[in-house]
Structures are given as C-alpha cells and as structure tokens.
Symmetry: C2
Subunit: 187 residues, 2 copies
C-alpha cells in the first residue's frame, strides 16, 4: 500500500484550535507511507493546537491558503476540534479550496467536527458520512446520511467520529489516496 | 418595564465553556429588573466560563437540570460559546428542558452558538432567528429563516449574533419576559 501512495501530495487544512491528535496522527501515518504533507492555513507562521481540554502545541504552517490550489494536491484532510472548523467554515477561500477537491473528484477526509466545513462547502447532500455525535443533526439537516461507525467511506469521502477512531481513519485515508480519483466525488 | 418582570423567574441553562459575557450580562440585566435568575446546569458545583480566548471564571450552579422543570420558570436563556452548546445539544435532558419552554409557549432567548441547542431540540423550523455567523448554515438547513441583525424577535424567541449585540439582546429578553406567553412559540 505504501508503494502506491509514495510521492503523492496531501494538504491538511487547519487553523487555530484543531484537535492536536487529529492532525499529528494522520500526518505521521502519511509521512510513514512516503506521502508529502503540507499544513495549509489561513495565514503564515504557526497555528495552535487544542489538546483535549486546553490549548496545545504550535505547528508551523507550510503553505498559506491563498498561495496554493487543489491542483497541487492529491487529497485533502480536515482535522476537527471546535474552533478550527468553526473558523474555516466562515472563510470563503477555505470553502472554495475544499470544494475544488470535490470538483476534481479527489479524495477528502474529515474527522470529528470537521464535517461542519463540508456542510458550509455544500458537499454533504446525498453523501454517506459520520462526524462527532454533536454534529450529527447538522449533517442530517444538510442532506447527509449519518452513520455511527468508526470510519465511513463513500467514493473518496472518508469521515470519522473522534480521536478514538484515528487508526481506522488513517488506514482509509491511505487507501483512498492510493485509489486516487473517484467519479462520484463531486461538487 | 422593570415592574412587569419583577419576581418572575428565569433559567439560564449552561455548562462548561459558555461565553462569559453572554451569561453575566443578561443575568445582570435581569437582576437589575428584579427577576429571579437560576443558573441551571448538568451537574452541581461550578461551571467554567470561556472568556474570549481562554478559560475564564467559575460560576456556581444554582440548580441541577434533573431537579427542575420549565413549570418553575417564565423564560429560558441560552448563552453561547463553543463547548457549552456543543455539550448541551448532545444531552437529552437539556433538549427536553429546552423543548418544554416552547411547548408551554414561554419565551426563550439564545445568543451566538446557542442556536445549535435549538436545532437539536427541533424547534427552529419555520422560525425567524439569528446566530453567530458560523452557525447560519446549520440554522438554514434546520428550516430557520436567518437574519443578519443584532437581535431577532419572533413570537417569544429572542436571538442575537455575538457579545457585541448584548445590549439589544438584554433589552428584548426583558421585553419578551414582560409579555409572557406567546401562542406561536411551540414545539
């Protein structure tokens, strides 16, 4: 599996308040598999993690959102946390960037509260997905089919509920990245 | 105005991570008007505020949710913050308590991210309201009519966008409390 993803490029889109393990764990899994990973954010410098109950470590931003496009990446990963997706879903560039992966049929993964970004990007209707349980009603109201599973995969869209699901989440992230484009992944 | 609300009783439902000013400011306005206010929460003891960018002061809980009913109160006030409504919307007792104010046609006020609680209580469809801008899509997907105004009043339902709107919010909280029951306030 590692062989088929080696050299591929993944964008992790995040801002302050991302749940630390939901960025660090997928990034490590991708690193191990030989994938090039960029932390993409709204501004240059560093973004501050949320570590379960309080602010966590700072992470350097690799690329600023306005300097990149989805053309440069094979997949998008959206970590959760509360502040992080709450900020991103209100940012037009973040929503356009997210939507463009769907338009290009590229895989997208979102965990925990990150499906809020998918909701505001308008890409949830008719799709199978999961999320942190508190986001369930918002997913259903957006037209999504919500499932209480550790990971849900729907034609390149990978979603999980919480940090406890990271092992399953990371495995499917790598699988979908290996598979490449999915024609049912649309915006 | 103060005269007509004097002696009335208001429940402020909140848990850890409520935005501090969105509890303290309405409570002060109600206190000044002679209203009896209880901070109602999921557990006894204290709840910790969120003060703009970090954890804030602790506030003593007056009543535990499972010991009270909406029969004892004339109005419900829901402060925002991120963690607070994210926790409350996943709690069946909190949703039942909220819904019972609507069933009894009693005024309910929610500010910032608190409309998430209204969404999960299933009382937003067809109503006019506002919220923190990031919650707009969730409100609309739940069937609400979202307005970009400092305060929206719809038959006993009072909503505002953020702490900057507190002056308008508090004034309408007192007005709707004075008016009492609204027949279009339903669940």
């Amino acid at each position: 599996m590692s062989k088929s993803v080696k050299g591929k490029r993944v964008a992790i889109l995040a801002t302050d308040g991302f749940e630390e393990s939901e960025l660090s764990s997928p990034r490590e899994a991708l690193d191990v598999a030989g994938v090039e990973v960029d932390i993409v954010s709204l501004k240059s410098g560093k973004i501050t993690a949320w570590a379960k109950t309080n602010w966590g470590k700072e992470y350097p931003v690799d690329k600023v959102l306005d300097e990149v496009t989805s053309d440069e990446y094979d997949m998008l990963v959206l970590p959760g946390g509360l502040f992080n997706p709450d900020t991103l879903r209100a940012n037009d560039s973040a929503l356009a960037f997210t939507r463009s992966f769907f338009k290009q049929h590229k895989p997208v993964a979102a965990i925990c509260h990150a499906p809020w970004v998918l909701i505001s990007a308008g890409v949830v209707n008719g799709r199978d997905l999961t999320s942190y349980p508190t986001v369930k009603d918002d997913v259903i109201n957006a037209g999504g089919n919500w499932h209480d599973q550790s990971v849900v995969v729907d034609s390149g869209l990978v979603t999980s509920r919480s940090p406890e699901d990271l092992e399953d989440f990371n495995r499917k992230v790598i699988e979908e990245l290996a598979e490449g484009k999915h024609q049912r992944q649309v915006a």
